[in-house]
Symmetry: C2
Subunit: 314 residues, 2 copies
């Protein structure tokens, strides 16, 4: 079974369970309305040694920041403010000393920087490999909450920054060049917390999610949840300097935000975004009517026979 | 650094972080007041193959139930009702097929039984060993919330059932006797959800926690948080049939509730508990005045030179 096959299997079985006031699975975070027109949102990620990081090439302080960042990015993608995390560590004997101390120091420094509390967790021994589990909690006004299911036919599709730097950085690391800017970006992603909050406050923004597996894969989740199709203009993809189109679409781990917005108000939205953040909000395509949830990739307006797939974990 | 050394290190670093409205670390769960005289509580646990379970001796369905149960037990220990969980799985290639399907089916069946939603999670590949991370969320009226820090001098110390069956069961399993009742109890612990809710509603109950590492270790956490001491009467420890005193005190994983209550009202509390659940609430000792947080172990009223320690994970 593939990763997404297993997730679909879980979703099917879950549907029969009580919802306890939660909205269904399908977004970057689970959503629990708590009254007062507010909701809490929840997300969790596992990082495994040998799969997501190699101990000898990842400084524990840097890795800790990344473990936190990828979760905060999911919270930001809902238009929510991250408020706290829980951190669990499974540590083999040779990681319980300096490695653990450095990791925890880095995690707390990153928590301070992103203004999140560390409110709980678990520590245990492990046979051989380090495993890191982070659960993040965010808070959001219900009117600012953004979901994957809210894309509407005719919406513009936008991304909050260039794509492909992280994928390029991973290649640099694997090829023994840990000192490039792309490698630094791969190791130390920045969750777009302020961007997510700002976009959450704009009513012309409809659907939103974060780009963790690559645009080619992630856009399909908005399309599936929104029962829509999309046309993406390949020449509009903002490829990061030193990267390439395929990496920008499939490399993953860019942690930019992917959103759809009312096309008629997109020019103003992009101008205001630039005023606020000094950076470009890139328009890369548009949502089309109900389809089978696939994206059409266009060059010069002509469909291209691309079969880009994002990263699957197994 | 030991497990508790690392936890202390984390707590010290955390203290400088914003609290985001959460109460500090120190209980079975983190507590977030959400208004309307209600709080949400959060807890998380990691289970690692080779440390917490052996793949060949743990049925994935049974293991899934246990992974959920140990988290729900932490929620119950706060007097809260568990409402939902997030589940993350790191799976080596040889566990992505039937093992994963069986695990997920077992997890959903246990969720249905204990009336909790499954609202999110993560799945990823792993190099070699399975890792399971569960985060549980509970809801509680603020007047029912029980903390480790609330024990008062003179309180009776009570436990909600017999102790030592799980430790005995682990020994049975390790010695090749998987079919004993104790082995079944070890593999399929029952979180005392209804007991926790009922005790949460009793104002004469002061401090509460769940017994996961063993009474000898766990009582010290109530004493540390409450700045108190304790006297435990060894002849009053309710040793499970087929187990022994040391296993009852140090074996861990019994998932009973450990609580303190106003001594003057304890007789009535125990009678009402028996009426409600048909089982005994066992009185095992009393909280004494401020001390260094140690428990005195008495036999026939005489201090015993015991140095029992609970389970430390590394």
């Amino acid at each position: 079974m593939t990763e997404f096959g297993l997730i679909d299997h879980i979703r099917t079985l879950c549907a029969a369970l009580p919802d306890a006031g939660f909205e269904g699975i399908g977004d970057d975070c689970a959503v629990l309305p708590v009254g007062g027109n507010e909701s809490l949102v929840f997300t969790t990620d596992l990082l495994c040694e040998g799969i997501h990081f190699l101990r000898h090439s990842a400084e524990p302080r840097t890795l800790a920041g990344k473990a936190l960042a990828v979760n905060l990015s999911d919270v930001a993608a809902m238009g929510a403010r991250p408020i706290a995390t829980l951190l669990s560590l499974a540590l083999p004997a040779d990681a319980t000393g300096r490695w653990a101390e450095e990791f925890v120091a880095g995690y707390c420094a990153a928590s301070e920087r992103w203004k999140t509390a560390l409110v709980g967790g678990d520590t245990t021994s492990a046979e051989r490999h380090i495993t890191i589990s982070v659960t993040a909690i965010g808070r959001v006004s219900d009117r600012c909450l953004k979901r994957r299911s809210a894309a509407r036919s005719g919406d513009a599709i936008l991304v909050t920054g260039t794509l492909g730097a992280s994928g390029r950085g991973l290649r640099d690391l694997l090829e023994g060049r840990p000192d490039t800017e792309a490698a630094r970006i791969h190791l130390s992603p920045e969750p777009q917390i302020e961007e997510g909050l700002w976009l959450g406050g704009r009513t012309e923004v409809h659907a939103m999610m974060d780009l963790s597996d690559g645009l080619a894969s992630d856009i399909r989740r908005i399309l599936a949840e929104s029962h829509a199709g999309a046309e993406i203009d390949l020449e509009r993809i903002p490829v990061a300097e030193g990267s390439d189109l395929e990496t920008a679409l499939c490399g993953g781990e860019d942690y930019r935000l992917l959103l759809t917005a009312d096309a008629a108000q997109t020019e103003r939205l992009c101008a205001d975004f630039h005023d606020r953040f000094g950076r470009t909000l890139h328009r890369v395509g548009r949502i089309t009517g109900p389809t089978d949830g696939r994206a059409l990739w266009l060059r010069g307006g002509e469909p291209q026979p691309l079969d880009y797939a994002g990263f699957e974990h197994f």
